[in-house]
Point group: C2
Chain length 395, copies 2
């Protein structure tokens, strides 16, 4: 008799976004005349930019042509895309070889798959509040999880201390959900901790393109010592609107070695065994993001979301509410007014002003009392939601 | 100090197709004037059919349009595609609900990922000769592997016997590499074995579209009892030329329960944790395969490959060489002439007639003395390779 992976039974039953969907559905059924302003889930609203669309069409035409048709792609990524991404890092002074860059179907896929490189007995450190899948993927693998709470006192940017005993350190910066960004000095402390303890950092850089403060690091590899202790996982989802088009990339330096095993070589072996690579069409579309024209166009789109953030930040500033994020990240993390609980505030916004956000508690216990707004909505919806929020907060 | 997954060190060093690539590269370097006829790796040569190309272009246009833009897709697959696939099964009398169908990035990706559903202590049965990734994915997971040899005496279609002690049974039919296809009666024996022993069959049906004998089963779910013991993994790679475009699907019946855990529900949880779904563009392209026009066009392409098979089979028939496959599968599995070893025959073909095939030994020890031809090459190359092979075998 086969035994299923019984760790699935340890997963918590409810999933944050599922609960939000159920609550909004129930509200709309009871109030069919109401229109909702959705600032909850982090999905983009702008279409793909012209450079990407053109490249996608060309790639589809290639697949129709006997001479230009592409069959099996290299499992670790098409050379043209691996090189384009390595060059992108080079522009920020981070030197990578193309075979340290792996093309993926997206950060969420890769954050789960990459765990295959580590022993099940290793302990994962999740700095909370955090993206729920970090925890769930490790529960499924049967790995022990160490939760590190953060809060307003450290700006939701926790630092290592000797009491932490963990092997696999999740760091997301700019952070989802808080929008907080680690400085170079703060990241250096984690890199030093990892090198001293033989730990490995999984650095989630999905929101790096939203950083505007030039002193803040976009990549962990801007920090000295990171090549011997870090893996960076990135995505075009938010950078270029690829949430439904799917493309990401992962950097595993060749200097990353533990117990005599080279993790770059292990990942090559994993990919050649477990995938046949990412769609040629999508990789061609992704490559257009890294052209000068593509970079210009995606930054025009990012500016639209940044304007949304500015409008919401002004409302919170005027109401005197504490928040972080918004400036260098597409998320704003606010303290709920009057000591309200995060689901209580969710219900209030839904009922009174038809604005849907994300309760902080869904990202870990220390998120209780906080609330996340995504800035990926349309400018029109964001303006109206901000107007309604300002009015509500005045009461 | 983190411990890597040390099972990677147990993987055998050389990979079949890597060795073939090295040998052919060395030959071409030594003989720069020669042209090779590649009948080795199973990559397709015909471009995508018109119906798929048109659908892909439309989907790209959707991603350029604010009103029709698609962000995050449902993690388990777009409803339009899950329904199209369920209908495809319905046409063969197999009743599935759409939420028993999961969209994937392809069979090779899914064959690795699906192992996440099972305890590491379960034993995997691999019927050899077999696709090398079956073994490697289980080695990485630290699972014990039971190798079941097959041979000419059973037509490379082994049957269960009470001595087999295994939990996870890999069955590939039509088979890669042998091209042999299980009859309904033969599959029923495996389904009964699995139900009696609480085992689960992983049924790889990637080549089902090549079956022309109407008595042979395309799906394990044509067999009574399979809904309580089988998962089916399928691909559009060979069916519709998606090797570089990437799309597949997996069927997990809701009746599949072990130790109180429902595997369909577990897989929903896995996908919602570990992916954000498959690209909208590619899913739209895939949906066109299941339209009447798409079906007509892909079967025209399949017929081209079937004609290739016919040409090769005629050569082997005339030379009096034993083989299986070819008729209901895109692979032909031949006995090497004069008791030659499979790498010996590989070297002979490369040196004497510049034809590249795949040595049977690469698919498991019992493949020694056999050789695989893929029929996915161009008709022109296949004709020339067949002409040269016929001449060589006459000697």
């Amino acid at each position: 008799m086969i035994t299923p992976n019984m760790h699935y039974a340890e997963l918590k039953d409810s999933y944050l976004f599922y609960n939000i969907a159920q609550k909004t559905k129930a509200y709309l059924e009871a109030n069919p005349d109401k229109r909702l302003y959705r600032m909850g889930i982090g999905d983009v609203s702008l279409p793909l930019c012209d450079a990407v669309i053109q490249s996608l069409h060309e790639a589809v035409d290639d697949q129709a042509n006997k001479e230009r048709f592409h069959g099996y792609m290299p499992e670790c990524g098409a050379p043209f895309l691996r090189e384009a991404i390595a060059n992108y890092y080079g522009q920020r002074g981070v030197t990578l070889s193309a075979d340290e860059v792996f093309v993926s179907s997206g950060a969420s896929d890769e954050l789960g798959d990459i765990l295959d490189l580590f022993d099940k007995k290793s302990t994962a450190l999740v700095m909370e509040p955090a993206y729920p899948a970090y925890v769930d993927a490790n529960v499924i693998a049967g790995r022990q999880i160490c939760h590190l709470a953060s809060g307003r006192e450290n700006g939701f940017l926790p630092q290592p201390d000797p009491s932490i005993q963990a092997d696999l350190l999740y760091i997301c910066s700019p952070n989802n959900p808080t929008g907080a960004v680690f400085s170079k000095e703060q990241l250096k402390a984690w890199v030093d901790y990892a090198n001293q303890n033989g730990a490995i950092i999984l650095f989630d850089a999905a929101y790096e393109a939203f950083i505007e403060d030039s002193t803040l690091p976009h990549s962990i590899f801007e920090i000295e010592g990171a090549r011997t202790c870090a893996i960076e996982i990135c995505s075009l989802s938010k950078t270029a609107g690829f949430t439904g088009t799917r493309l990401g990339y992962t950097v595993i330096p060749k200097d990353l070695v533990r117990n005599g095993m080279n993790l770059n070589e292990m990942w090559v072996r994993n990919r050649t065994t477990k995938t046949n690579g990412v769609s040629y069409i999508i990789q061609k579309g992704g490559a257009a993001v890294f052209t000068p024209e593509g970079q210009k166009q995606i930054h025009q789109n990012i500016q639209v979301y940044k304007n949304n953030a500015k409008i919401l930040m002004e409302v919170l500033d005027q109401a005197g509410i504490w928040y972080c994020g918004g400036k260098n990240a597409p998320y704003i993390w606010m303290e709920c007014p009057n000591g309200m609980g995060s689901w209580e505030f969710f219900d209030l916004l839904l009922r009174e002003i038809q604005v849907v956000g994300t309760p902080g508690e869904g990202f870990g216990a220390c998120g209780e009392g906080y609330f996340r707004f995504s800035t990926f909505g349309s400018p029109e919806d964001t303006k109206e939601a901000a107007r309604r929020l300002a009015k509500l907060l005045q009461k």
